[in-house]
Symmetry: C2
Amino acid sequence: MIPGQGSSRSDGEGEHELRILPAGTTVHARSGDTYLRALQDRSFPIPSTCGGIGKCGQCRIRFVEGVPDPTPADVRHLPPRELEGGWRLACEHLVESPATIEIIPEQGELDQKAVHDTPLSMDSGDPGVRLRTVQVRSASREEQLAHSTRLGEALGGEVRMDPEVLRRLARALSSASQVVSVVSAGERVLDLRETSESPRLCGIAVDVGTTTLAVFLFDLTTGGQLGTAASRNPQRKYGADVISRIAYARQNGPDGVSELQAAVISGLNALIMQLAEGASIPADSIYKATVVGNPTMLHLLLAVDPAGIDVSPYVPVFTHAVECTAEAVGLAINSQAIVETLPAVSAYVGADIVAGIFSTRLGEGNAPRLFLDVGTNGEIVLAVEGRLIACSTAAGPAFEGASIVHGMNALPGAIESVRIGQNDVRCSVIGDLAASGICGTGLLSAVAELRRAGWIDASGRFVPPTSDRPLADRVEGRGKEARFRLTDGDSPIHLHQADVREFQLAKAALRAGIERLLVRAGLSTGELDGVLLGGAFSSSAKEEDLLQTGLLPAVGVRKIRLVGNVAGQGAKQVLLERRSMDVCRSLADRVEYVELSGDRAFSEVYVENIPFPESR
Amino acid sequence: MIPGQGSSRSDGEGEHELRILPAGTTVHARSGDTYLRALQDRSFPIPSTCGGIGKCGQCRIRFVEGVPDPTPADVRHLPPRELEGGWRLACEHLVESPATIEIIPEQGELDQKAVHDTPLSMDSGDPGVRLRTVQVRSASREEQLAHSTRLGEALGGEVRMDPEVLRRLARALSSASQVVSVVSAGERVLDLRETSESPRLCGIAVDVGTTTLAVFLFDLTTGGQLGTAASRNPQRKYGADVISRIAYARQNGPDGVSELQAAVISGLNALIMQLAEGASIPADSIYKATVVGNPTMLHLLLAVDPAGIDVSPYVPVFTHAVECTAEAVGLAINSQAIVETLPAVSAYVGADIVAGIFSTRLGEGNAPRLFLDVGTNGEIVLAVEGRLIACSTAAGPAFEGASIVHGMNALPGAIESVRIGQNDVRCSVIGDLAASGICGTGLLSAVAELRRAGWIDASGRFVPPTSDRPLADRVEGRGKEARFRLTDGDSPIHLHQADVREFQLAKAALRAGIERLLVRAGLSTGELDGVLLGGAFSSSAKEEDLLQTGLLPAVGVRKIRLVGNVAGQGAKQVLLERRSMDVCRSLADRVEYVELSGDRAFSEVYVENIPFPESR
């Protein structure tokens, strides 16, 4: 390449231009940063769970030109075919010159796998913001009524306007026609335009997950969904779970909180920009944002210190539904837009769970039903005869693919299900790539299959292989070192004895939580009329595996419903119908929260639930 | 001076350090700027009405060291005594090196003259913001209620908090005592502190005048006034009156409006800082600001384009009482503080007039009374039998000392009254300095005295002097060039024939407005029970002069009341008692506005009122 004539260039000593495929985006990165740091800082969703020390092998990128020599970590984690093709670990190489690299786009996958979006087809309700085109009568010398007064007349009542909106009023009424498009929420006028610039009235439902951000764009006039976008939560670089992010905030004081807020806001704004472009609307025609998330995520979204959440007595700063302007939060939508969060119950039973209760209609009817949202924390709600009783258990991160030797999130390259046949093992990998790890449902599936096939006993131990048994060669090591080889090739993926233990501890916590709620309500498992499993985990789990591993109590397959991203669904419903917010408020008030951390009986039930159920 | 060891220094090629006495402030000025531009840009109140072209002679500053050679304009305008002392015109000299200069402090003068402040001694009412110290109960593991929920309990009801306030909540409740100081306005919590940091609950009344800014600081708990500060409106460099500022905004588009807003906000913030320091409070313990001003001033304060105000049909963007946060305007008080403007009636009958009607209780009682606010525009309100009828007349800037050959604002150096004796003329000068011009009341006084002494006839012409008449040597020139020498010395101040004309036209406009209102109400002058004259002009005008010149109709001295800065007074009352705002709203609604610009009878009455009354 002739210097200066290529498509990428250096900007002097300190920075280099990086061209990122397949999107073709150009960014500038500091010389000497790792590619991982450079890309994550610019909100590219590069997975990494080891913190950039060459251990997890997830941060794969491909150098299109000027491929650097592989490092030992590259060789350890990447198959020769990928190494030859220019794939390297982003944490192992420093930005030293302009480069063109390819990253694994996760967008399409996330839409289907992690977000598990069911487009709404609902009647358009009353979103609480309105777009009207009104004729304002002209002022005359005889009656010099102010613009705002005549606008109030045209709108039929009192109007309230921030200075920002007053500034637009003169311009909007400057045309001879005196016809204007007005966006209002109750008495408050949010925007004013000449009719030729009349906006499309849009809104977004926002699901701020610890792992994944999802934004759903709607036309608030028709109720039609205009698009969905998702990405990894950029806060991930500060820690995989809420506890590590709270710790980061604690160690870094107010700056830490601001930094975490800036990260999530930049992630959301990137999605908003993407959605607006996709739907050919300006982002400032988004006038309402309804947000769900767990309490830590919502505290950080508003830059409110979450420090009370992870220490006894576990007190959040707020649980109520907060309403403010987009400006006050920094969301790149109309500055006057209404941003509202759904209410939460407690430090660990958040707006996401309230949204789930709402959208699954769990609070209605008398028959006992359970709702579970499984992630790092397992939140459990038992509905019975009008009561809603909830608890949260620290299941640990196994269900999200962390704390597992070859664990990873549900992203391209992750094994999401395993089928053990008579003589073979087949793994289904997200994105049909070479497997680079195991995600939560892959773990569930592998454990269930190994248990079915008799390779794991009820206590959770690998059964030592006898040489004549088919697949015996796949069991490597002994005792605590035992592991089962799921995939072959240069970088085989194993399920380790320790992984099975992690799974057992996680499911025992969840089961103990369920038991405690049932005892509280005086119910037995058999009396349950339904078990609803929500969260990203639920999108590709199999009901049989949930029962096989004892993750759910033995209720029978037909009683299990995998409900997907009900938090996002609830946010959408509240976005489109403002009265739904009142329903959510009263649901949040109704929930009786049970704290398990001081509950001695919980520990007993927990230990009882560590073994797997006897084979069925 | 040894370079680098003095108190002033250069900061490289582009800037020089200026030390400003008597305050001792240090500022940095661009090399090559005039001292006038440099000082005005930094909000020093240097008077100038000619736009910096060496013509008005008002922008006097004293060079303490390195006095530059005087220019011809310096010599023309400054007496030798002042030139020797280092006084120069700021517009005539460029910043070329570090310097120490002295300016004429106007602060003390403004307090007494322009602001005309009567400290309030009123009962502390309900300002609408409250400071409470409440005990919040502790959270427990059994009942993990959020901080905001427990705070709501302690405050006895629903609370609304912006993210900004939520951020403070965690900190405020971090102490073991769980006792917090809460500032609230209705449901809205504005601030939260640990009791050890409990703020003093303060508020400001703000009078945004075209010429002068005045801020009054109050303790909202006791109703006690903590201080007053005033300065020239820094917008003056964009034009002396509202029309020229609207023109500036029009020529410079949205940037022009922003620039004018920035100017007034910086002026107010300087006053706020000064008041806060004087009262030893942090500026963020100011939680409420009640603002009056004419419509153009309030539009520019909120950065709302005032373009509709100076073209027919004279329509402002808003006349209603606007409420917003300090943050939305940029006032350097608590970011969550409530900023409220009083309501206006029309493009030229503003919140200042409504405040005047309110504080003079003009709307009460049945006897016919007139209220006049005299400035560039003369606003007139006639109260009769429950009706309030108002108009605005373009009196021209004579009453503010502009459009007068030696005119200036009521600032140090201005002649504010004239006494013509048998054989002498005595001028009273603000600040007891050498006279450098004539202000509005000086003009009134000079015209009245010259009329009394027979030097001006009823038509307004100077009477040609006969040589034997005492003071005949003071009349110079003939016909349109005639002028009367008020002061002697190197730079004598004259009252010119043209000045008398300007005065006549201004008072004729005012009188014609009064006549039209009286006709509208079917009243004669004799039926008037009182005439209230407000505005800065009223603070040193003499009742006899008002009648002598025919500025007011012949109602008799006892019926005239000089009421001073009633706009500021009204703002104070609303600041201290929020229900007063409702009274002002209903007053603004009650006012019937009469537009005079298309009124043919007005023109006739105007011409009739140009002559002076026959001598009394």
